[in-house]
Amino acid sequence: MSNILVYAEIEDGVVHDVSLQCLAKGREIADASSGKVDCLAVGSGIRAAAEGLGAFGAEAVFVAEDAKLEQYLTSPFKKVVSDFLKTNSYDLILFPATTVGDDLAPAVAEALGVACVLHCDGLAGDALTRLEFDRKVSTTYKAEGCTIASLKDGIAVAGAPDSSRSAQVSDVAVELDAASTKSKVLRRDVAKKTVNLKDAKIIVAGGAGVGTKENFSLIEELADALGAQIGATRAVVDAGWLPADHQIGQTGVTVRPAVYIACGISGAVQHRVGMLDSGKIIAINTDKNAPIFKIAHYKIEGDLKEVLPKLVKLIKA
């Protein structure tokens, strides 16, 4: 029997998609072993979103709300989660493999002295598997006792909400002492989410090879013609050509569209991990040796300033 707790990461009143995937995966395992799946949400102004978790399969939802928890910080969140786990026992605690989940999971594991495995791609029984060596090796980990794991985007499909299901929602007392409030978030430069890349069927993405902010109009024109969303690499976001919500990859979103058109993207591993599972990948690049060509279904060696208008013309024809 597996009793599972899923950490529900909530940002701007929305549960993170990977947390929902964790919940779906947890549900699957609990069902197979007649266990249970609960959720724990920590933050401020998260109650409504947390209550909705029942519809996604959570049996009990625990909400730790406090104005001091408005923004994520390791120590106070660690304190709240580990305090909760000291009085509530679970076999498996699942975190989304995000910059929050990967930060919090090992911190909580340390506070409790339990096992921790990050970035899992698979979970079956007590076996945690992870793709390693540039996805060439799948390593299986076994842990003793209560185990904390973070699961990668793609671990499961977040099911549609089932409004007939609901969870018992209870509050968790938040006790923050001086030791857990030493650090501060001074400011955040975070883009508001204006695009939904995860649900996009077609994505046209640009990298440093686009050259200038102005050249992004070529990407926009192609995206318009295809009804596609626009994605970007970290280099593009850091250069200020596009806001960060367009970023795909390691510290951006992971996407699996049917068609992914990579324009001027060299294909560094940090970007590749976010788009590798796209249905069809078209890569346009001037450098024939660009790593992106190794994973592309269609390789176009050429200048995107010439190729993109041609594609637009052909689509419109």
Binding site: D287, K288, N289, E301
Partner: protein
């Protein structure tokens, strides 16, 4: 991961360093193993240290820092404003990186804060740096010759004063030899009293007045100046010239910098000395014959390495382009003429490298023998070094020019554009067979030594080292016989005739030497058998052609 390390990715250079250079011989002469001050327990450890240093920092910063900045350095170039030379940002960073990596004193003795590495390691480092940015070599690669000149000939006070700061890179050097009317003919320095050194009878301090031109890094801190110190009516020509050290200061003015075809990251200055305080280096009247000759020898090896680095860069760019570029549905490297051009580029890049490092090895043995005060060895190796250095410089720089020419050809129209690095390489390489003595001057030196028989034993020694591939060796032996035939013939000819055919006779020598060197390499690396086969196959008609030119030259003056 190509482009990560210009040393480890250069298989041929690495092979020479790993397998061919006789480090034990060099280390035995240049280091006192067992001495407390010596950082090595044995030659193996010294070798591992040298080669480890070529990998990191040299190969690492060349690939990761210098190469990415090369285009910017070339495009912006050095500027001149109000008496000051302004470096492009990339160059400033390059120099800072060289200082941070503690590489500026590569050959300076440890007691003066340097690494005390052999010339061969320095030559390899210069090649690797030049592959990334040829212009940077004029800071990194000339430092050694200037420091060594100070080391060999200057007083202890001067050594203490300047060498430690040259080791850290705080001071860079320049050599001020050329004048408006004295380029190749340095004995003409100050024939018209353009630059003169005078001694103040009260203080005993020398002062220099006059103009020097085409001075690489003339805005540097330590300037070695060749100037007339003796009354021209009593001691004319080279005998009246002495060597001085002048430190940068108010009295040394940069009047302008040249607007050049290439190496834009290296400022070429016109200097005006306005009663500049100067220190005499060595003995009066020996400026040209001894000190300049020494300095030029070191600088020539460095320029050879610079050309070698440019050739390697051009080869790599061409290989990449010929693989990427498709015409008629396939990569252009698959077309016979392109394939042949690429193969030739590789063979001759390796040929000039073989001769260059064989020469630097001799230079090391010479320096080592001299420091050990081994009279006979010093004389023997000195004779070889003096003969081989100009020939190696001539060969490396001419080959590099040819390779850059072919590199543009492989790139086609694209190569003519500034979009590809070969355009810069083509401009940068063009100075290498001109400065520190033109190719014509080099082969004149070379032919005089060859005719005197200075290299006969050397050639025989190279032949003896070959124990396998007898049929290939037989071909080289034939060429060696042709060389002897030509040299015997030239003994009876006057200097004018010898200089007229110098490039041809020297080319025969090079074919023979490289043929044997390749065969020796082939005994350590199977791949080199093919390289040797190709080189020896192609040299037979060339040797015959050069034989005919040598034996029957026709000089005409044509006045329609």
């Amino acid at each position: 991961m190509p482009g990560e390390n210009f040393y480890t990715e250069n298989k041929d250079l690495k092979f020479l360093m790993d397998e061919i250079i006789d480090w034990k011989a060099i280390v035995d002469l240049k280091e006192k193993i067992g001495d407390e001050e010596c950082p090595y327990d044995d030659a193996e450890e010294a070798k591992a240290t040298y080669l480890g240093m070529l990998e990191d920092p040299v190969g690492d910063i060349a690939a990761k820092r210098f190469a990415p900045r090369a285009e910017e350095v070339d495009t912006i170039g050095c500027q001149y404003k109000d008496g000051e030379v302004i470096f492009p940002e990339g160059l400033k960073r390059n120099l800072q990186d060289l200082m941070d990596a503690q590489l500026m004193g590569m050959t300076i003795p440890r007691e003066y804060g340097g690494l005390q590495f052999p010339e061969t390691v320095y030559t390899a480092a210069i090649e690797v740096v030049s592959q990334a940015d040829a212009s940077l070599m004029n800071f990194f690669g000339l430092q050694g010759g200037i420091a060594e000149t100070i080391m060999e000939f200057a007083s202890d006070e001067l050594k203490q004063q300047y060498l430690p700061r040259m080791s850290t890179g705080e001071f860079t050097g320049a050599m001020a030899l050329t004048e408006p009317d004295a380029g190749s003919d340095l004995a003409a320095v100050s024939a018209k009293a353009d630059i003169e050194a005078e001694i103040d009878p009260e203080t005993g301090m020398w002062h220099i007045n006059g103009t020097k031109r085409f001075i690489t890094n003339g805005c540097g801190d330590v300037i070695l100046v060749l100037a007339r110190s003796e009354d021209a009516s009593r001691k004319s020509g080279g005998r009246g010239l002495s060597f001085f050290l002048v430190e940068k200061g108010d009295t040394v003015k940069v009047r302008r910098i040249e607007n050049k075809l290439g190496i834009h990251g290296s400022p070429t200055c016109e200097l005006y000395f306005d009663n500049s305080p100067a220190y005499l280096i060595g003995r009066r009247g020996m400026g040209l014959a001894r000190y300049t000759a020494w300095l030029m020898l070191a600088a020539r090896l460095a320029i050879g390495a610079q050309a070698q680095g440019i050739a390697e860069a051009a080869l790599q760019e061409s290989l990449k382009y010929a693989e990427e570029r498709e015409q008629f549905g396939k990569p252009i490297r698959q077309f016979p003429q392109v394939a042949a051009m690429l193969a030739n580029m590789r063979v001759y890049t390796e040929a000039s490298r073989a001769l260059l490092y064989a020469t630097s090895e001799i230079v090391d043995l010479h320096q080592g023998a001299e420091r050990r005060e081994l009279k006979e060895e010093t004389k023997a190796y000195g004779k070889l070094a003096e003969a081989l250095t100009p020939i190696a410089k001539y060969y490396s720089t001419e080959i590099a020019n040819k390779i850059c020419y072919d590199a543009i050809q492989i790139h086609g129209g694209n190569g003519f554009m500034k979009d590809y690095p070969v355009e810069r390489l083509y401009r940068d390489v063009r100075i290498t067979n001109i400065y520190e003595g033109t190719s014509q001057i080099q082969v004149n030196w070379g032919i005089s030594r060859l005719v005197r028989g200075d290299l006969n034993e050397y050639i025989a020694g190279l032949a003896e080292k070959v124990t396998r591939n007898p049929e290939l060796k037989a071909e080289v032996d034939k060429a060696a016989a042709v060389l002897q035939e030509c040299l015997a013939f030239l003994k009876e000819k006057d200097v004018g005739y010898r200089e007229l055919i110098a490039p041809h006779a020297v080319d025969i020598f090079i074919d023979v030497a490289v043929g044997y060197l390749f065969l020796a390499q082939a005994e350590k690396w199977e791949y080199k058998v093919e390289v040797a086969r190709k080189f020896i196959h192609d040299m037979a008609p060339r040797v015959e052609m050069n034989r005919q030119y040598t034996l029957d030259a026709l000089l005409v003056e044509l006045n329609p």
